[in-house]
């Protein structure tokens, strides 16, 4: 479980996050939705300590993260898998070496065991025969999938995915959604997914947080979101014609 309490973050005069309090529970798909530039990526980066926060607290299973030193943070980060919005694969390493990297950093397995794990993870994201390719040789969607494989390589306790299915075709998008759902249930992970994909929201959203103007504007699940009486949320979720039809049906 990850709890965020009264978190503030600004870049100069840009007050990106204001008084965010939210908790993310294990075994559930926790979604963060919100307009472009509303601070979703910044929020997750604050939660893993990549951005210093101005004030507030972040608790991992009750332990205060913000005041930890590098070594203590590293211990928590060993349990964090993170997919970045732009994949952030290491350009100088092949697909295989990218997924291998966290295993080499954090485990003492033999090379053979690690490679088995790498292939298992690549399999789960439907990527076979790409082991020896470099990131520059991959499509955007393939990069995303390698990023997911790398994020789940260590079977993390906490999984952060920044737009896991953007740039993927609808079929692969659903495969990835299901994968995230499966491993979340299977390993009781605390999974936090940022998404723009309304299909994912409706299919997988068990705890949805809507960020608006830097605030935790609305929170609920995929049933409540359809009925929610909140102007900004409705405008965001039901922006498209097809979603309007879905609501009225």
């Amino acid at each position: 479980m990850i709890e965020v309490k009264n978190l503030y973050k600004s870049f100069g005069d840009n007050h990106v996050l204001q008084d965010i309090s939210v908790s993310f529970e294990p075994g559930k798909i926790n979604l963060i939705i919100g307009g472009s530039g509303s601070g979703k990526s910044v929020l997750t980066k604050c939660m893993v300590g990549l951005h210093e926060i101005d004030s507030g607290s972040i608790l991992y299973d009750g332990k205060e993260f913000t005041t930890m030193n590098f070594k203590q943070k590293k211990k928590i980060r060993k349990d964090i898998g993170m997919l970045f919005q732009a994949s952030a694969l290491f350009d100088s390493l092949t697909v295989e070496e990218n997924v291998l990297f966290p295993l080499e950093m954090y485990t003492k397995q033999t090379k053979k065991e690690m490679l088995e794990r790498v292939n298992f993870c690549l399999d789960r994201v439907n990527l076979e025969n790409a082991n020896k390719l470099y990131p520059a040789e991959l499509s955007g969607g393939m990069k995303k999938r390698v990023g997911i494989a790398r994020a789940i390589a260590l079977n993390p306790k906490y999984l952060f995915c920044d737009e896991p299915n953007s740039g993927l075709d609808p079929f692969t998008g659903i495969v990835i959604d299901q994968l995230i759902q499966e491993i979340t249930k299977e390993y009781n992970m605390t999974t936090i997914v940022i998404t723009h994909d309304m299909n994912s929201v409706m299919e997988t959203g068990e705890n949805i947080m809507f960020l608006y103007q830097g605030k935790n504007w609305w929170q609920g699940d995929n049933h409540e979101i359809v009925k929610a009486d909140n102007k900004e949320l409705s405008e965001f979720v039901f922006a498209s014609k097809i979603m309007k039809q879905f609501r009225n049906a």
């Binding site: 590098f70 060993k78 970045f84 952030a88 290491f90 966290p102 950093m105």
Partner: protein, 247 residues
């Protein structure tokens, strides 16, 4: 002025992170070998061409300017050797490498910064500053002095080739000249300088790359800044070391 001091402060903070005790020696060793190959071997061709041609030109210029029967014939070889060992090989080659290696390092690290690769390293428990910068500094501390010796040799050879067919000069005079009044300390002096320059050539571009904000445009600016600043600092350090070591 304030930003200058801020930059200097941030540079030293970065260095303090770079020289933290690494927790994975194997990884750092692997990276160092990789950097030596990519930065060092990759520079040999360029340095060879520049050294040979500069050696030839310095020899011709000295010979034409000293075409006076009162001056001994060996002076040309002597002048070529001295200028190469003292200044051209250590300082000028370092300036050239500051351009070649500096822009390379700044854009490589800058790209990793803006594409979140540095953040990804941090999440995987890697001290990104040490992992990215330390191997580059160590690699350049090893190979730049070697390149400097290599440049000295090739520069002198460039002059030697010219002396064979240039009118008013003989090979024997040239060889006499390059052996005349040779002091080992000149080489030591050149190597001391090159170690300082090696550190500047990799650490300053690493700094500008590591703290890039924004996009591809800023990476270009960071590369340019790295080359400008490292060149200026090389020249200043060159002056100070010469004052301290030779005067």
């Amino acid at each position: 002025m304030i930003t200058l001091f801020e930059n200097i402060g941030a540079y030293f903070i970065l260095l303090s992170r770079v020289f933290k005790k690494p927790d994975n020696y194997k990884l750092i060793f692997k990276q160092t070998i990789h950097e030596m190959v990519s930065l060092g071997i990759g520079s040999l061709g360029l340095i060879a061409i520049i050294s040979v041609f500069m050696g030839a030109v310095v020899t011709i210029q000295t010979a034409t300017n000293m075409n006076n029967p009162l001056l001994p014939g060996y002076l040309v070889g002597f002048a070529t050797r001295e200028s190469f060992i003292l200044e051209l090989a250590p300082t000028v080659m370092s300036l050239i490498l500051a351009g070649k290696i500096g822009s390379n390092v700044a854009s490589e690290i800058g790209t990793m910064r803006i594409s979140d690769q540095i953040d990804a390293l941090e999440i995987m428990g890697v001290n990104s500053a040490s992992y990215l910068v330390f191997p580059k500094i160590i690699a350049s501390l090893i190979f730049i002095p070697i390149i400097v010796i290599y440049s000295m040799a090739l520069g002198i050879i460039g002059g030697l080739v010219v002396s064979m067919y240039f009118d008013g000069m003989t090979l024997n005079d040239y060889i006499l000249g390059i052996r005349f009044d040779f002091k080992m300390f000149s080489i030591t002096y050149a190597l001391i300088k090159s170690v300082f320059f090696a550190f500047i050539i990799t650490s300053i571009p690493s700094y500008f790359g590591y703290y890039v904000k924004g996009g591809a445009l800023e990476i270009g600016k960071a590369s340019t800044k790295s080359v400008v600043y490292s060149s200026i600092i090389i020249l200043i350090i060159n002056y100070l070391l010469t004052q301290m070591l030779l005067v």
